[in-house]
Symmetry: C2
Subunit: 479 residues, 2 copies
């Protein structure tokens, strides 16, 4: 493995000529240049699925090292517990309930959905374009697959990836197999031909079905190429791996290598490719000019059994407003800039919008509510996180609210159960002391519940719900 990596590194040095012989910035005003931003985004990765977040058999030496050199956040949240709204939150800095990428039920866009992210939403890419950034979206999009909704119409100069989830366009004969869940335990789901997902470059389909065995590597290749091609201008790369969302596919190099099985192979391949990105930035002399962040879109898809991930000690997973559904590993890296260490304060993917916009000198839109906060002082100086609140929506319903250490659940529901339960007073957990949400302390702390209720009242006062863009599907109008 090491020999392979050495070769690859040499290959990169040759490929990007100009960077050989110097590992520092070539231009002397480097420090005055705005930071490049690279968001590495996994799909359905659980809180407990990396070595440095406690997994015993998934080996992630590169992410572990990234955490050691950078900041490891342990209370970092996504904006929703499923894919489409979570990605919309990251790219708009706004809760999905505001930006239209949520619905009465907790759902996502489908290949036949008519709609996508509303044009009036201002993505992080559109923000950074105002400051002259070169912008690329590589990987899974899932904010609308009709042309007007694609990345190139949302602030990205370049797009290479799949427009929705890797388990969509499912062409296997579900009836013959015996239904959707049976399919996932049948061999049919191991074939890329069961999923007629298109791979696109900008607005063109270039491969169908996308060969998912090599897709993690190819996403990384494309991202590296983009960075190398824009090393003299500031760039923003949003590299959204579509794995370890099922169906799981690894390359020949990684298949059957992890003690954790195929899920481990896939995560270890992502880890390796994260390493390639960091090595390339270092080799190009851009490491100190770039902020890289690694996280994922939502918790593990537990109903996928061994092919789903683990939320570690957190409760429940993808689809739920328990911690396991919405808290993710999050690692920031920028040698010489990010203050190395552990951050136990609260952060959110929405904060990337505000932090990166601010660092690029682009004002935050003031004609709408933006939910992100600027994390710079935490990242650079180790100050306490300025975020004190977290809203846990399921669909367009507010299920739970965290204020400081305390989280009140007004409604609880398991990820894939139809029944929900309203609580008055809400269930109350001290998330710092009791990260597994085992000990309801509501009876002992009515005063904390009152504080959280007040936060909810203020939140609701300012809330203008976006028009639900998820409910319409071209072929099957859902209500």
């Amino acid at each position: 493995m090491i020999a392979l990596r050495t070769l690859l590194f040499l290959y990169l040095l040759i490929l990007f000529d100009g960077c050989t012989g110097t590992t520092n910035n070539e231009d002397s005003d480097a420090t005055k240049r705005p930071f490049n931003f690279v968001i590495l985004f996994a799909d359905d990765l659980g809180y407990g699925d990396l070595g440095v977040y406690g997994h015993p058999t998934i080996r992630t030496p590169r992410l572990d090292k990234m955490a050691g050199e950078g900041q490891k956040w342990t209370n970092f949240y996504v904006g929703a517990s499923v894919c489409t709204p979570s990605r919309a939150a990251l790219l708009t800095g706004r809760l999905p309930v505001r930006n239209g990428m949520t619905s009465r039920i907790n759902r996502v866009l489908f290949p036949d959905s008519d709609n996508g992210l509303p044009a009036e939403e201002i993505t992080l890419a559109e923000q950074l374009k105002k400051a002259g950034y070169a912008t690329a979206c590589v990987g899974k999009w899932h904010l609308g697959s009709k042309e007007q909704y694609l990345p190139t119409n949302n602030g990205f100069d370049y797009y290479y990836g799949i427009p929705y989830s890797n388990d969509m366009d499912n062409v296997a004969d579900m009836k013959a197999i015996g239904g959707y869940m049976k399919f996932w335990s049948s061999e049919a789901h191991r074939s890329i031909n069961s999923f007629n997902v298109p791979l696109m470059r900008n607005t063109e389909v270039i491969e169908r079905p996308a060969n998912q065995h090599t897709i993690t590597k190819r996403y990384t290749d494309e991202s590296i190429k983009f960075m190398a091609g824009h090393k003299s201008s500031p760039f923003f790369v949003y590299l959204a791996y579509n794995l370890p969302h099922v169906p799981l596919f690894a390359s020949e190099t990684f298949e059957d290598t992890s003690p954790r099985g195929l899920y481990g192979d896939v995560v270890e391949e992502i880890d390796y490719n994260v390493g390639r990105v960091l090595d390339t930035l270092t080799a190009m002399g851009l490491a100190e000019n770039t902020i890289v962040v690694f996280t994922s879109d939502n918790g593990p898809w537990l109903i996928m059994n061994q092919e789903g991930g683990s939320a570690g000690l957190l409760r429940n997973g993808k689809g739920s407003t328990w911690e396991g559904g919405m808290r993710e590993p999050c690692i920031f890296w920028s040698p010489g800039n990010i203050k190395p260490g552990l951050v136990t304060g609260i952060g959110s993917t929405m904060d990337l919008y505000t932090t990166f916009s601010t660092l690029a000198g682009v004002p935050i839109p003031n004609d709408r509510v933006v939910d992100g906060v600027d994390l710079s002082a935490t990242l650079f100086k180790g100050d306490p996180s300025p975020r004190n609140e977290m809203f846990y929506y399921r669909g367009d319903w507010l299920y739970a609210v965290r204020v400081g250490d305390y989280k009140a659940h007004y409604i609880t529901q398991e990820a894939y159960e139809p029944e929900f339960t309203r609580h008055d007073p809400p269930e109350l957990y001290n998330i710092s002391v009791d990260p597994s949400e085992k000990f309801d302390i509501a009876a002992d702390h009515p005063e904390i519940i009152e504080q959280i209720n007040e936060v909810v009242r203020k939140h609701n006062e300012k809330l203008i719900k976006g028009l639900d863009m998820l409910k319409d599907r071209g072929n099957q109008k859902l209500n």
Copy 2:
């Protein structure tokens, strides 16, 4: 905190004169000298309770760093899921079912127990004495509190600590409080005066009740003093912290500082003191001559709620033969000797016996079964672990057996439930793929069950059960 540590470090440099001005070994034949051994042993610490094992709010920078510089083992087991037999396994290299430190039920020694570790057992300390080691036991013993069973009669030159668990000699009025479990949610358990536990030096009681607020620091002080006093001879220090076993006590410096609450304060104080041990070894120039290992005696005591720890993604805790009961964090450290990295192979506290004896040049007793294996090649060269099997006893009953990745449960039982269930065929889990023991694959793999059955047959052939030394208690003969 950093200023405090700097001061302390300077203090150490002054205290141990002779080491100032040199951080390397003073004698030139240092490399020929046998290794010193330091076993740092926590009590009831869960698999998920350290930063580097995934806890979000317990901050363990020193143990995390130790893991980064050393080897982090993620499949490391203790010999039993409760205190006395687990400690007996570590110190004899033998399963408790052989050495007499187990019983029909899963129990431990009490202050009124007549017995202790049989004299014919050869402890690791007795082994190392044969090679001229200076030996100290600092902290919790729990292998017999009558004089003939104390550490100084079991191969240790020096003993400083409490002879059994820190929750024993309980003098609170349980009846008035409403019973044992009520006691643990009452304020009474926050007083050191509720526990009349003696602190001993060698065979003398020097303080009663032991002041547990300062005990972690004092254990560390004593260990450091012992190492400093024996730096020119090889030494073995068994430093067995009696926390985070309940009752939890932290010093003023640590109390109310951890986001995880009191349990976090206590673990963070241990972390800090582990750092002191490593810093002292480094300052004395002995780091490269010493192998330090950190682990714990059994999984978290889950019935203690917020004052018990977390097994992370592992199932169940202390008292059970699920992974959460018997798998522990384990970190080996010896700069320049231990090959840094992650080890996902199997290891056991019993292997410390065999490994350290072998490194000291002391033959393993050949008149009895010793269960330990020599881990040296894994520690020094990163070779695969030579251990392929693990036997999970509950009391003197064999509940489960792991062979390679697979674990067969012949009997299952929750930690504190009286009901047990026999399984024929056994439940079968792939522990590497499914560390949380969620997916029973027995029906698909009768051939693996047959292999494990064969291992059990061979194990039973050689098994001579030790005489049960736990069932007799001075005041209350239990059967």
